[in-house]
């Protein structure tokens, strides 16, 4: 007779795990602020209570009161060291039949290259470096922020509280995506890359799509010579000028939109985890770590993917649209 299994475990193991999880949940409930108001008689030792979180948006400065050394830049350096070390050791003695690390790095690169090729087609080889750098930067920054060393190792530093920089203990590491400067820098890199590829592929026609004065002047010439379609052409020319200038504004608004999309998602995830670790500690924050993993991956894909899409739109010529 086969032993019956529930969720892959035998019955006693399942009961044991369920009781363990329920106990952890109730222990967290009691030691949080909600439970200690309900069961005000039970006094738990001080180490079970989690301090009320106080998230600040500007990144904290460590050791010196200078804006050049913040805990987010230290985390960004950690990310860069991690990525460069991984790829360096994978590519050092590259064999035809790859070892495990080389296989893993090749898998990542091939997936990214196929993604670029699926959106951009022929230009994938040119777009691949910028897009995959942005993708790897965002995803590694988001994922290593879930390690235990982030937010727990405290060093003396300066925190922006109540309008001034106060000297307190601050975390040594903080996710680089939660400092608004890094998403802003990546958005500017994306904008400059899109403009560079657009001008390289379409030369002056790329700039002309924003300062669209040519149809207007052509139509005024036609109207002066009393040719057919002159007056209507003037109005259409005026509309084209306005639309072109709005397109130019839209290019710059994209920087703001990229910045706040990444920054908002990352800071919301961090505040969510902090809040739930305060309200219902020990068990309930775990699904939110899973959500943070997913959100990190999706935001990296969105940032890189949107950069790729705007690049491929910038290099396609719109000559066929005009009569």
């Amino acid at each position: 007779m086969k032993k019956k299994k529930i969720l892959g475990c035998s019955f006693p193991v399942f009961i044991f795990i369920t009781i363990l999880l329920l106990g952890l949940f109730f222990f967290g409930f009691i030691s949080g602020p909600v439970g200690s108001n309900f069961f005000s008689g039970i006094k738990l030792p001080a180490w079970t209570h989690v301090a009320q979180p106080n998230p600040v948006l500007p990144a904290e400065r460590v050791f010196f009161n200078s804006p050049f050394l913040t805990n987010s830049i230290i985390s960004a350096w950690l990310t860069i060291i991690l990525i460069v070390t991984l790829v360096f050791f994978a590519a050092r003695k590259a064999k035809l039949i790859p070892g495990k690390l080389q296989n893993f790095i090749e898998f990542i690169f091939e997936a990214l290259y196929n993604f670029c090729a699926s959106v951009a087609g022929d230009n994938a080889r040119a777009f691949f470096p910028v897009v995959s750098t942005i993708f790897l930067m965002v995803i590694f920054n988001a994922w290593i922020a879930l390690l235990p060393i982030f937010g727990t190792i405290m060093v003396p530093g300066y925190e922006y509280q109540g309008g001034t920089w106060e000297h307190t203990m601050v975390p040594l590491f903080r996710s680089a995506n939660t400092d608004i400067n890094l998403p802003l820098a990546l958005a500017i890199v994306s904008f400059v890359s899109v403009t560079y590829f657009g001008i390289r592929a379409r030369k002056t026609e790329y700039v002309e799509q924003f300062f669209n004065f040519r149809p207007f002047f052509q139509s005024t010439k036609k109207a002066v010579k009393r040719e057919k379609g002159g007056i209507m052409g003037v109005f259409v020319g005026l509309i084209n000028i306005v639309v072109g200038l709005l397109e130019l504004l839209g290019q710059f608004t994209r920087i703001i939109s990229f910045t706040f999309r990444l920054f908002g998602n990352m800071i919301a995830g961090e505040i969510l985890i902090l809040l739930f670790s305060f309200l219902l500690p020990y068990l309930v924050p775990l699904p939110f770590y899973g959500l943070e993993l997913l959100v990190g991956f999706v935001q990296a894909l969105i940032f890189g993917g949107l950069t790729l899409v705007f690049m491929s739109v910038a290099v396609t010529s719109h000559e066929s649209d005009h009569d």
Binding site: S118, G162, F260, R261, G305, V309
Partner: protein, 77 residues
């Protein structure tokens, strides 16, 4: 009304009314994507890619509201 009460009310109203837009928007995008997928299951790749793209744009609007709420709640005194 005190300043504290007004600030809390502003945060609640901002998030409550502001999140209606992206919520409706993403639902509409999903609805049209399901329609298109039902009509033409072979175009699954293209439909999904464009759906993810459109959802990213509308989700960003909700993130702007979140930024405003966080700013109001934590930074403004």
């Amino acid at each position: 009304m005190t300043a504290e009460a007004t600030k809390l009310l502003a945060v609640g109203l901002a998030v409550g009314i502001g999140m209606l837009g992206p919520g409706f928007g993403i639902g509409l995008i999903g609805y049209s994507a399901m329609n298109a997928l039902g009509r033409n299951p072979e175009a699954r790749g293209a439909i999904l890619t464009n759906m993810i793209l459109a959802i990213a744009f509308t989700e960003a609007i909700g993130i702007y509201i979140l930024i405003v709420a966080i700013l109001l709640a934590l930074v403004v005194k």
